[in-house]
């Protein structure tokens, strides 16, 4: 009963893994997997490209901001939602804040280009009414990484909130009763019972997110960026795309891909190890 799954994984996950050997070859499209072996030459070429270093730095900067915001906002919103006692309101808010998670970046890219545009976009229209000059959210290289951060938080914070909210409901109500009997106020209850109660989940989610340091969000960046913001917005995945798919430099693009994949693998193994140690988390 496992056979079909095993076969498909072999074909579409393990064959590409074997395929990364082209990163060590001078790729020849006619013979494909049996091209000339050139060792690490592709890596040497790629590492010297200015665009490469830039992409690595941008990737790490953007994903680091996303990881931090991806913990702070969901925890905050879960704590606030937990205070709400009107059930229908709580449920409607939840429904609305998860919503953006389900929409593709193709559509969201279009939406943001529309609402952030400098001629007639609703955000700049509102800003100009309060006397702020229009901001080139998508075209100014100093602003672009933060636009990425905000739009990412907007899309994903509701989704992250679910996990923490579930953890909050698992806290033993007896602890709160005991705390109140001892005369603790709301803030002390939050600080001494609620936060420690979800600390293990926060640790777990933080640790697991280490694995995504090299993923700054291809779909998002690809649908929002343009040549004006390459300097701060080009990430490893978009770099690989332009080099590999647009310019058909398969070998060098695979070398970059392999570099990314290698770093990611190390980080993920490390994060799974830490997650197991810190929270007893096992994937399987």
């Amino acid at each position: 009963m496992l056979l079909p799954a095993v076969v498909f994984i072999l074909l579409f996950s393990y064959f590409p893994l074997y395929g990364v050997i082209i990163a060590f070859q001078k790729y020849n499209p006619t013979t494909s997997f049996s091209s000339t072996w050139i060792g690490f030459q592709n890596f040497a070429t790629v590492f010297l490209l200015p665009g490469f270093t830039r992409a690595v730095v941008n990737t790490m900067f953007i994903s680091f901001m996303k990881i931090v915001a991806g913990i702070v906002f969901p925890v905050m919103f879960a704590l606030l939602l937990n205070e709400i006692s009107i059930m229908w309101l709580k449920r409607s808010i939840q429904t609305l804040i998860y919503l953006p998670h389900f929409i593709s970046w193709i559509i969201l890219g279009g939406v943001f280009k529309e609402i952030l545009s400098t001629d007639g976009g609703i955000v700049n229209t509102v800003l100009s009414r309060v006397g702020i000059r229009p901001v080139f959210f998508l075209g100014e290289k100093g602003v672009f990484p933060y636009t990425l951060l905000f739009t990412h938080v907007w899309k994903e914070f509701g989704y992250g909130t679910i996990v923490y909210l579930a953890a909050l409901t698992n806290i033993d109500p007896g602890l709160y009763e005991a705390g109140m009997i001892d005369g603790a106020g709301r803030w002390r209850l939050t600080w001494h019972i609620t936060l420690p109660g979800i600390l293990s989940i926060i640790t777990l989610m933080t640790v697991l997110s280490i694995g995504s340091v090299m993923n700054a969000g291809f779909d998002q960046v690809f649908n929002l960026y343009n040549t004006a913001v390459y300097e701060t917005g080009d990430i490893i995945d978009t770099f690989v795309y332009r080099m590999g798919i647009e310019q058909a430099q398969y070998s060098t693009a695979s070398a970059v891909g392999l570099f990314k994949s290698g770093v990611t693998a190390v980080l993920m193994i490390l994060s799974y190890y830490l997650a197991d140690r810190a929270a007893g988390y096992r994937v399987f």
Binding site: F12, V111, G211, S254, T264, Y281
Partner: protein, 295 residues
């Protein structure tokens, strides 16, 4: 009766305000989009449209219906979701069922665990994956969007965990009655796994409907594109027009028309998800928590 202190009232008012504002921020862009799609193009160009249509018209939707490629791509996407998700379930259900057994019941379980988890940790990346699909002769084929996605490992693990939490006695009873594993899966395990299957199905439907990159790089022509890839191509061409706008008045005129149409296109592209999601939401919260936070 419990009395609520003044500071507590202020706090609650603040909390409600923040939450309601955040919830509104999550839907307002879509409402803005909807308003634009139903507005007159000149009002849109003048930046007068916020959350209500101005000079309401269905022109952009009438235009979309006349766009054959839009309709064809919509159909391709629907077909892709139906076939793609069926293939995923057909492969995942038996596999998750096998893996939900302990080491003693499934020979080589540790091996399979490693075999599947490795693919979540390392991947060949964009280019080698593309070359494998090309080698298999799938370029330009509908199946290039179905087969590479056939085994979503993360979803399979969610299903496996769900099946593990079911009472073992039912399955044992079926086995004693002489049912084969496949028979047990179909008539015992699947009927009691509906919540888990619904969650995973939702994830699968979303990922198939929202995929655009595979269609764009694996398919030869726009006529084969699923909706999201087609939207991508359309939005790109609008961007190009925007760049030429300053010098080219013809492009400017076209663009004014395109803006409302683009909004309509994006809204229709998001609509199926907006419809499907609330129905499956109650399962989905349970399933997500089950998959991501387990002891």
């Amino acid at each position: 009766m419990k009395k609520i202190s003044v500071s507590r009232r202020f706090f609650l008012a603040g909390a409600y305000a923040i939450l309601v504002i955040a919830a509104l921020l999550c839907v307002l862009p879509f409402i803005n989009l909807l308003a634009i799609s139903f507005s007159d193009k000149t009002a849109v160009a003048a930046g007068r449209v916020t959350f209500l249509p101005i000079q309401t018209t269905t022109a952009s939707y009438r235009y979309l219906i006349s766009d054959h490629q839009f309709l064809r791509s919509f159909g391709t996407s629907l077909l892709r979701v139906i076939i793609g998700v069926s293939v995923q379930l057909l492969i995942m259900l038996p596999a998750a069922f096998s893996l939900s057994h302990s080491k003693d019941q499934l020979f080589g379980r540790s091996f399979y665990a490693v075999y599947f988890v490795i693919t979540m940790i390392v991947s060949g990346g964009m280019i080698p994956s593309y070359l494998v699909v090309a080698k298999l002769g799938l370029i330009g084929s509908f199946w290039s969007m179905i087969l590479p996605m056939a085994v979503p490992v993360y979803n399979m693990i969610i299903l496996m965990n769900f099946m593990r939490s079911l009472p073992k006695e039912l399955e044992e009873a079926a086995m004693i009655d002489g049912a084969t594993p496949m028979k047990t899966l179909i008539s015992v395990v699947i009927p009691i796994s509906k919540a888990g299957i619904a969650t995973v199905m939702l994830f699968c439907i979303i990922s198939h409907w929202n995929s655009w990159f595979d269609g764009m790089i694996y398919l030869d022509s726009v006529s084969q594109y699923p909706l999201q890839s087609y939207l991508y191509a359309q939005l790109r061409s609008i961007d190009r027009m925007m760049r030429e706008m300053e010098t080219n008045y013809e492009a400017l005129a076209k663009l004014v028309n395109m803006r409302t149409t683009r909004a309509a296109m994006m809204f229709i592209g998001a609509l199926p998800m907006l419809i499907v999601y609330p129905f499956l939401q109650k399962y989905f919260t349970k399933g997500l928590v089950l998959g991501s936070v387990k002891g």
